[in-house]
Symmetry: C3
């Protein structure tokens, strides 16, 4: 679906919209080896189960790099086509660790520009509900929206997943 010419693909969607599975399919349509960059941190049982489920879906041709914060470093270390899953958790980690987001976003963009390989980024759309009650959630969705916009501008291909099906945004 993604032609090899697409250096950067952004796969957006809601929770359980099939983003990860679709993005894995895009990467696995290219020749292996593939690198899976996981940004998730397993804080609790619910998250551990989600990570385990994602891992069960991938076979041995996938190398996994864990990058809760240093996504730019992981991109530099990757081999072959790369899947980054997902930017929303990465942003959460940056905010919890009180890392400067503008610097981190710029470092990510520089790493994407330097990457000699196709990269598929997975990110959540979180801004389509009612305004959240608490200020932290509002700040999070603002930053997530800004990050998605920056990466969508840079991507050759942007998909919006609905019920497991891709709508082509760009």
């Amino acid at each position: 679906m993604t032609a090899p010419a697409d250096r950067l693909t952004l796969v957006l969607g809601g929770a359980r919209s099939g983003k990860s599975a679709h993005a894995e399919g895009l990467v696995a349509a290219l020749p292996p080896p593939w690198t899976y960059i996981a940004t998730a941190q397993a804080f609790d049982a619910e998250m551990r189960e989600r990570i385990a489920e994602h891992r069960r879906r991938r076979d041995a041709r996938w190398a996994t790099l864990e990058a809760p914060l240093d996504l730019a470093g992981a991109l530099a270390a990757a081999q072959g086509p790369v899947l980054v899953d997902c930017l929303t958790l990465w942003l959460t980690n940056l905010m919890l660790a009180e890392v400067d987001r503008d610097a981190a976003f710029a470092a990510l963009e520089a790493a994407l520009d330097a990457a000699p390989r196709p990269v598929v980024l997975v990110s959540n759309e979180v801004g389509l509900g009612i305004v959240p009650d608490n200020a932290l959630a509002r700040a999070f969705r603002d930053e997530a929206g800004r990050l998605n916009q920056r990466l969508a501008r840079r991507a050759e291909r942007v998909l919006f997943l609905v019920a497991g099906l891709p709508m082509v945004v760009k």
Copy 2:
């Protein structure tokens, strides 16, 4: 809009996106009689008013079946083209009644495969906001997302309603 060749149509969208009205239009474009399968249970005044509003919109050529849980049974009993409104409330009912969802989803799929008539399913997209605070709401949106994906895979036609207007997903 839906050609008679579309045996299964899935109409997705947010709250007040015009899903029900659009889906009714799709069914009513086919020859009557039509069957409306209502999954809503009127627990309170707010829900009673919503049900009454939907009912006022439909004329006498519609037969109504109430199916808060046994959607497969209602599909087997239906006459003519069918509208199921909606899957999200059906899932809520299944969860409240602690019915096994995998079995219920499989029974629904079998009933859809067996139905000798066009079926239009209405379902909510609920995963595009901030992660909900409580675990039950998170579990609900996970299950709703999985159900939508299963049915979208099976449907010939998937529409995403925005402000009353359909975007063609499939």
Copy 3:
């Protein structure tokens, strides 16, 4: 992007989806002067900062009219192509002031029909998350959905913004 023939354009999207910037670009593609109708009321520091940020983006060819409630009056007073940003805040203001919404919506529609100029309306899609806990938020998203549907029906062009990129709904 919007041809001058489009008298009414509705730009929908989530928080931080790039709605305002895109809508400004549509208006600024037409000959100046342009009128910006701001519906925001600066109740707190967070909102003041948002308003200031939007204002910094616009140059001197924009006249600004503030219309927290009387949108129809502001449309009648406007010069040149008009941007209304945004309907969601206007609806919030109507609800807080306990203004009759049906009358206000009808007055807005009459003003749009009478306006001898292109108008671009910005509005939020807020119905794609989990059902909100509180009744006021549910009422708000119902009314916002109804307003969006009414205006989408009337608009020549409806866009759904995702990560800063427009999807054409109509």
